[in-house]
Assembly symmetry: C2
Homo-oligomer: 410 residues x 2
């Protein structure tokens, strides 16, 4: 059996251990929900303070130039780019993920005017399903959205397909898809590939360049720790910049925004996909949160992520054999940075855990979801979390009627 | 001639004078650009601090429920509603203005399926022109966007018109339009009316209810002081709620977002127009900024606004007769809270003023624009600003070649 001392020893050898100091987390907090909302970093505190007290309060409107607010969506994109294997000038930070998906979906349909099918995953995140259906309904021509079992993708790929849109790490199960292989298959039939990185960025190594991805988008508030409702990001491969049109144009994407021309003319590069200014304070919060990533590598993060998820799985299976169904793949190359356990009383279990200081979340109908963010989690946190889970399960605390399910973001 | 002492006396009698203390503004700052970006309020500092240090850092993901983040776009809408003459449940705060216009334009076209014309103002703000053209291009059927001289609106109103979209205070000239009269004329031909309040909210009294407005939207960073790129707001008349569809749907506008259903079903009321979560920090910044409005009334703000703009016009015309063309209407009922002066060297004049501590802005091709925010401006600020303008004009400082025009947000 693995002991708490074993875990403490792992923490002592952990090259990322010192980075926990960059996060504001109560000592007793066991936070296995960074895949839903990352915690506050000291970098965020500093940057938000700087934006409000210095750039905004003192610089006022002059900071659009003086503090380069005009360029913030692009500069922040450049800072984020290495986390997805992109280069400077290929990533933009703005809006929220759903709007960025709308822009890419709308633009993509124009790039494949002779094709009428969009393929997505029937168990994709719901906002992705809603916006793809929304855009299909909005655009002029007849578009068919096929929501398929992603394991049967090959059967659906043909020359009617304009766009395939998949989430690289499944938000419920934590399964990680083969980005390069799927992108290749999609390209073979001449379709375009859009990846949603919401559950990938900052958690698993990504390489949009070597995988030859067309488009990608992700959010800023999960493993990136940019704050609740943080701005999102989008990637457009260089070959599509200047070709993919922004179907939701605004003045800050104009080639000459301050000439106030009545006709829209797209700016070059990623600026074309800016509509209007995202909150500069919110951009600052995300900017500050990215600092900590520059003190390590995605390879080191991945190594610890797999060690943490392996440890959690092993401890749960040792301590509670047969109690949960492990939904997340055991294979490393198919696992994101979370572990999903199926249990028919999942909702009550998560509520009981939260009350005892372990925050995970529930995803209907029966998934207990635990996220593992290597930048601030300790191996002892995993050990302690499983001990508390054992206590909850053995005491049947989760059956308490106060845990009857209600609308909740947990 | 009006003297500085006269202005000081006006400040002493000013019932709004004490509210200046709620703003972080350097003593020497003469800020006539609150119509572009309002300054930081102490309310914003407090709220942002509370959101980051308490709700996010301590509450983490649990704050979606515990701190009611889920409801923040609606609660903030309720707080803003009185400023536009709306009631609780009629206003939503989210996204940016251009996206909210996109939602209303897209939804409106479905409400008038047999009509194919959208009318807007040829000199409307450019982002409004871009997004209306963008949406017309995006939607399936043939839509004609007529950009007209707004003074000829009556000639263009007929039964082909689906939607009329106008900005209530012209961003360049400061002219304020007759909201009730125009809305009535638009309704007479069965068209829908969308008002852009970007330059109105917090500066002039508005009453969407008595004017029978269908839809309105505005931004949060001008007279509302919500911060650079602050979330925007939209108003939907009760008769259209549940009828106007959100063409850019996302999971937080779903009737049951946490049931993760694959098919979109709109939430009731204004929640239907939420797509995904705006930055909670940015919502907090705007929330805090609205506090100061609750210590006065829009009638008191309007009274001082007219007094400030009258004073500025009078001082400029006394001190610099014939130098500028006054573009803003002299008639109170046609004037917003800004004064626009035309001069062929407008760009250099504004740059020279900024260097001397008076911040106004330039709007191509030849407008010097000065905004008057009654919550923090003093009558002596107006006096001093005009003295500095006189100095700039008499010394020809504005002709300095360093002021050659470049891309600038000023």
């Amino acid at each position: 059996m693995i002991t708490r001392d074993d875990c403490r020893a792992l923490d002592e050898r952990d090259p990322l251990a010192e980075l926990r100091g960059e996060f504001i987390l109560a000592k007793e907090e066991i936070y296995l929900d960074g895949n839903s909302l990352g915690p506050v970093t000291r970098g965020t505190q500093r940057r938000v303070n700087q934006v409000i007290e210095h750039e905004w309060a003192e610089g006022l409107v002059r900071s659009w130039n003086a503090a380069q607010w005009m360029d913030a969506p692009l500069k922040l994109g450049d800072r984020l780019a290495p986390l997805i294997g992109a280069h400077a000038g290929e990533v933009l930070v703005a809006d929220t993920l759903t709007f960025l998906l709308a822009k890419i979906i709308g633009g993509s349909l124009e790039l494949r005017p002779e094709r009428h099918v969009i393929i997505t995953d029937a168990v994709n995140f719901h906002s992705d399903l809603y916006i793809v259906a929304g855009m299909a309904r909005l655009v002029g021509r007849e578009i068919v959205v096929k929501t398929i079992d992603r394991n049967t993708l090959d059967e659906h790929l043909d020359e009617d397909v304009a766009l395939v849109m998949l989430t690289q790490v499944d938000f419920r199960t934590g399964e990680m898809l083969d980005m390069a292989g799927i992108t290749r298959a999609v390209h073979e039939v001449g379709a375009l590939m859009l990846w949603d990185f919401a559950h990938s960025t900052g958690a698993v190594p990504l390489d949009v360049t070597s995988a030859d991805v067309d488009f990608a988008a992700g959010c800023g508030y999960k493993y990136l720790n940019g704050g609740p409702g943080a701005p999102a990001f989008m990637y457009v491969a260089p070959r599509w910049q200047g070709v993919l049109r922004n179907p939701l144009p605004g003045w800050l994407g104009h080639a000459r925004p301050f000439d106030f021309e009545s006709t829209y003319e797209s700016a070059p590069g990623m600026r074309a996909y800016v509509t209007s200014s995202p909150s500069v304070i919110a951009l600052g919060a995300l900017d500050g949160a990215l600092e900590v990533f520059e003190r390590t590598t995605m390879a080191a993060i991945r190594e610890k992520s797999l060690a943490l998820t392996d440890l959690f799985i092993e401890l749960v299976e040792e301590s509670l054999p047969g109690v949960f169904e492990l939904v997340t793949p055991r294979e490393h190359d198919q696992r994101g940075s979370q572990v999903a356990l199926r249990h028919s009383n999942g909702y009550g279990i998560i509520q009981a855990l939260i009350e005892r200081g372990v925050t995970g979340d529930f995803r209907a109908p029966d998934i207990c979801r635990f996220g593992f963010a290597p930048l601030y989690l300790r191996y002892v946190d995993i050990y302690d979390a499983v001990q508390i889970l054992v206590e909850v399960m053995s005491s049947s605390a989760y059956l308490d009627t106060k845990y009857e399910r209600r609308l909740a973001v947990t």
